[in-house]
């Protein structure tokens, strides 16, 4: 079956259900002007992502995945094209407006975790709420709740250096979720993790997606990881090469059960 058709079917179903896309991108271009040369990182991306979708973005190195994610995450502005986030055209937003959008609508998860060192897990998770003017009391309450939802109850006062890679990434996920964003954007979140820990992280994403209908957009170059998503978008040379529904989708909780029980300091530390 042609993937384009599948994509349009997915969109069709959503449109029928009367929902509005979280991400609506039309002919998005990004050109880096390096003076003598111009790097066309994105050359006309059009994409719609609906609430509750779980999209894996794949593609060779240099195909423009990170550039796209930075635009979707409102860290950068496109050279050309339109980007509607929750129906709002953010392509022309000012820096301050983009900062507010990032704060309220986007949750970032990075390959390198990017937690503040020598800062407790709780305070790391509090960080986005500091910039949305939430009271200290509420911040602590919500940060605790977010840490609980990623299975880190009891680790609130641990510093990143006292946590394993998987635990650190879970703190980062809690931080991404704490302001109830419309969209979680993850650029190679399992890139620094071993395979079992990677599956655990995918388990968290799958549960958040299934239980809370959180829209997840994640970049990965591992086909195994992409199979935990519902949809795969393949980039090549700054364009979408293929857009397909994952038919043989994996269930991370099932994979974990099947994996041999290993000495897991994640659970014992």
């Amino acid at each position: 079956m042609p993937e384009g058709l599948l994509q349009s079917q997915a969109g069709f179903v959503h449109r029928l259900a009367g929902s509005m896309p979280v991400i609506q991108v039309e002919n998005l271009h990004k050109t880096y002007d390096l003076g003598e040369v111009q790097v066309h990182a994105l050359r006309g991306i059009s994409l719609e992502v609906y609430p509750g979708e779980f999209v894996a973005i794949m593609g060779a190195s240099g195909s423009g995945k990170s550039t796209f994610m930075n635009l979707i995450g409102c860290l950068d502005r496109p050279t050309r094209g339109r980007y509607l986030l929750d129906g709002q055209d953010v392509s022309e937003f000012s820096k301050i407006e983009l900062a507010h959008i990032r704060n309220r609508k986007i949750g970032f998860v990075f390959q390198g975790f990017n937690l503040l060192s020598r800062t407790s897990a709780l305070e790391n998770v509090e960080l986005p709420m500091i910039y949305s003017g939430i009271s200290h009391q509420d911040r602590i309450e919500r940060a605790r709740e977010a840490l609980r939802s990623v299975g880190l109850e009891g680790r609130e006062e641990h510093h990143p250096s006292q946590l394993s890679g998987g635990q650190q990434q879970r703190v980062a996920i809690a931080r991404a979720l704490v302001n109830h964003p419309s969209l979680v954007v993850a650029d190679e979140p399992t890139g620094n993790l071993d395979s079992r820990t990677s599956v655990e992280i995918m388990d968290i994403f799958q549960r958040l997606n299934a239980e809370q209908n959180i829209t997840v957009l994640l970049v990965t170059h591992e086909p195994d990881i992409a199979r935990y998503a519902k949809r795969i978008v393949l980039f090549r040379d700054g364009k979408i090469r293929r857009d397909s529904v994952v038919e043989d989708r994996l269930d991370a909780s099932q994979t974990l059960l099947d994996l041999p029980a290993v000495e897991d300091d994640d659970e014992e530390a």
């Binding site: 860290l75 820096k95 704060n103 990017n114 986005p128 931080r175």
Partner: protein, 405 residues
């Protein structure tokens, strides 16, 4: 973000690197501490001087025989014989002068029973006690008649009483021997304490000037005149009139120097104020140099901090910090750094000045304004030198900051 939260975040960031924080603050600590310490000493000294100047006398003008030569060296008053009792009387006629006394003095040995004491005796008119606002608290002062008669009567300072009348005897009416000449003690002066020049004012004997001239010093001229102006405002005019009068009486030609020196409490106060101004200027320059150095230290460490925390800045921006938020964060860190330095400097300054006054017995005084100014200045240093690093932090591109290794 509310201000106390910003403040707390800044404190926390600084607490992460305590040694560096303290080393960075050192410039500010030393600067502010030194300033507080020296201001305390300076203020304490000038406060003491003011007090002592007030004790000098009632709008006092002091005319001494002698001259200031071109090198500023004063000739001893013994060398000049031109000042006379008549000069003093003429000065008394000047409208702005309300009281006047001639003055002579010499060193003497005083004996009472088996006690003896070296001191100085001053010959004056009875008006001396008014001019110097120095009352006789026991007995009576000598009179104009005693002056005319060159009577052997005297009034004692407290130190003399303490050293001659050791077993608490009442000195009034007793005969003492001054250079072997018998004198009757008729009065005792109130305690005066130290002069602005640090000598014990109470270690003196006052007698009629005629008596001192003829019987002790053996001179017919006088060494000084003390006069009291009608008010503080008339002191300068009175000084001018005295100078004109004495030049005329001494037949000085226009090209000749004065053979007398006129000083008033105002002149002394002005001289003190002048040296205080110089001291203040010196302190201000020390302060600005050390604050400048401290400020540059803060700027340097803030720049290092911004570079070190590039990723942190990227993360903060990714989760929603605006440029202003980031700028505020780093600026407040710089201000907290300098304020903390300033506060420690104040503490060290107060401690240091207490040490000085304790060890050297110098009076010290810390005016509250000095502390307020120190606080303002250190905050100012933080803002000024923290601005550029903070601006640099705020201008970072979030994507590049996140990618920074």
């Amino acid at each position: 973000m509310d201000f106390s939260a910003v403040f707390r975040v800044a404190l926390k960031a600084l607490a992460r690197n305590k040694l560096r924080t303290i080393l960075t603050m050192l410039g500010i600590i030393i600067g502010v501490g030194a300033v507080i310490c020296t201001v305390a000493i300076g203020e304490g000294a000038s406060n003491a001087v003011q007090e002592q100047l007030r004790s000098l006398g009632d709008n006092m003008i002091f005319i001494s025989a002698g001259s200031v030569n071109s090198h500023g060296v004063r000739m001893g008053s013994q060398a000049t014989k031109t000042l006379t009792v008549e000069d003093a009387q003429a000065i008394g006629q000047i409208p702005f002068i309300k009281a006047v006394t001639p003055g002579v003095g010499t060193s003497v040995q005083v004996v009472y029973k088996d006690q003896n004491w070296y001191t100085s005796i001053r010959g004056n008119a009875p008006s001396y006690f008014e001019i110097r606002e120095w009352p006789v608290v026991e007995g009576i002062p000598f009179s104009q008649r005693d002056v005319e008669a060159a009577a052997n009567v005297c009034v004692l300072g407290q130190t003399i009483v303490e050293n001659l009348f050791v077993d608490g005897e009442n000195p009034i009416g007793k005969m003492i021997r001054i250079q072997n000449i018998p004198f009757r003690v008729i009065g005792v002066l109130a305690r005066k304490g130290q002069s602005p020049w640090g000598h014990d004012e109470d270690d003196t004997i006052i007698a009629p000037y005629t008596t001192v001239q003829k019987k002790l010093a053996g001179i017919s001229w006088i060494q000084y005149v003390m006069a009291s102006a009608t008010s503080v405002k008339t002191i300068p005019a009175a000084e001018q009139q005295i100078e004109a009068l004495l030049r005329q009486r001494h037949h000085l030609r226009p090209n000749e120097d004065d053979d007398f020196i006129i000083r008033s409490t105002i002149d002394i106060a002005n001289a003190r104020a002048q040296s205080a101004r110089i001291l203040t200027l010196l302190l201000a320059s020390i302060a600005s140099v050390s604050l400048l150095v401290g400020g540059i230290g803060i700027m340097n460490i803030m720049l290092v901090s911004v570079t070190e925390r590039t990723r942190e800045i990227g993360v903060r921006m990714a989760v929603g910090a605006t440029e202003d938020d980031v700028q505020m964060q780093f600026l407040s860190e710089a201000v907290v750094l300098s304020l903390l330095g300033g506060a420690l400097g104040i503490v060290f300054g107060i401690f240091g000045s207490m040490l000085v006054s304790g060890m050297l017995h110098w009076p010290t005084l810390i005016p509250p304004q000095a502390i307020a100014i120190a606080v303002l200045f250190s905050a100012g240093v933080g803002v000024f030198f923290g601005y550029y690093p903070a601006r640099k932090a705020a201008r970072l591109d979030p994507i590049e900051a996140l990618r920074y290794e």
